[in-house]
Amino acid sequence: MSIALANVSVVVNNEPVAIVPNSFKYTEGKGEQTMRAASSGGGAVEQVFSENVEMNFSMVSFGLFNDIDSIETARSWKSSKNNNVVSFSGATSDGKTIERTFTQSAILNDYEVELGADTNFEIEFKSNPAV
C-alpha cells in the first residue's frame, strides 16, 4: 500500500507560504522527448529518439486566497522577476519524503486576482528545472 502526497509545505524566498489546499502542481523540467520511426524496408522500423531541450524549464503553480497579504506577496514575487526561489517539501505518514527546489523562478503571466467571498487566485512560476 502506498500513500498519496496531498499536503506540502511551500517556501518562496525563504518565507513559508499558505496555499489553497490541493492546488499545488509542478513539472520536473525534464522537457519533452519525441520518438519517430525510420523505415528500414520490409515494414520494419527503427526508432529515432530525440530530446527537445527547448522547454527544459519547470513550472510551479498553486492557489492563494485573496487576502491582502497574499495579494501583496504575489505582487512582490512578480516584481522580483526571476530572482525568486520556490521550494516545497512533503512527507507521508509512512515516513517517505520529497523535496524540490526551483531556482530563478519568475511569474511570466499577468495573473488575475479575483476578489470575492469564495474566490482565490492562481500563481504560476517558470523556473530552472527542479533539483
Binding site: 517556501v11 525563504n14 526561489v85 521550494s87 527546489t101 531556482t103 530563478q104
Partner: protein
C-alpha cells in the same frame, strides 16, 4: 566591550538558502545588538535566564558542570545557554521559542544580509543555534549581570 558592537559568527554547519533567485550556501551570521525594537523578546529571555540562574540549587556544582562542558569545546566558547539545561524550574521549550522569536526580528543576518525566517531557522544545526543563543545572551541580553 561595547553593547553596540556587531559580531560575526561562522557557521559550523553551513546550509543552503535562497538568495536573489539562486540557492547559495550560508557561511556566517552577522549578529546585531538589541535595540528597543526587540526589547520585548530580550526581556523574556532575560527573565528566563535570571530565573534559571537563581534556581540552580547548587551553584558550585552547576558551574563546574558548565566548565567541564566548556573544556570540551573551543577555549573561547562560553556556554551561558547551558544554565537553562541545568535549571529545574525553567522550561527549555519556552527558552527555545523565545530565542526563535528574537532571531526572526532581524538581529541575525545570514551572510550579513538575509533576515532569518522559520524555514531558515529550521536549517540551523543545534550546535550553531545553541552557540548563537549563548553569544546573544552573554554579550547583550545578560551582559550586565555576567560582567559583575
Amino acid at each position: 566591550m561595547s553593547l553596540l558592537e556587531e559580531k560575526i559568527y561562522n557557521l559550523k554547519t553551513p546550509f543552503e538558502y535562497a538568495f536573489k533567485g539562486d540557492n547559495v550556501t550560508a557561511s556566517f551570521i552577522k549578529i546585531i545588538p538589541p535595540t528597543s525594537k526587540t526589547i520585548k523578546h530580550c526581556s523574556v529571555i532575560k527573565q528566563l535566564f535570571y530565573r534559571a540562574a537563581t534556581s540552580v540549587k547548587n551553584p558550585e556544582s552547576a558551574s563546574k558542570e558548565i566548565e567541564e562542558k566548556d573544556s570540551e569545546k573551543d577555549s573561547d566558547d562560553e556556554s551561558y545557554y547551558d544554565v537553562f539545561y541545568i535549571s529545574e524550574t525553567v522550561d527549555i521549550e519556552l527558552v527555545l521559542e523565545a530565542f526563535r522569536k528574537l532571531f526572526k526580528t532581524g538581529v541575525l543576518l545570514l551572510d550579513g544580509e538575509t533576515k532569518l525566517t522559520d524555514p531558515l531557522l529550521d536549517k540551523i544545526s543545534l550546535p550553531d543555534f545553541e552557540k548563537l543563543a549563548s553569544i546573544y545572551l552573554g554579550n547583550y541580553i545578560a551582559a550586565s549581570m555576567l560582567s559583575t
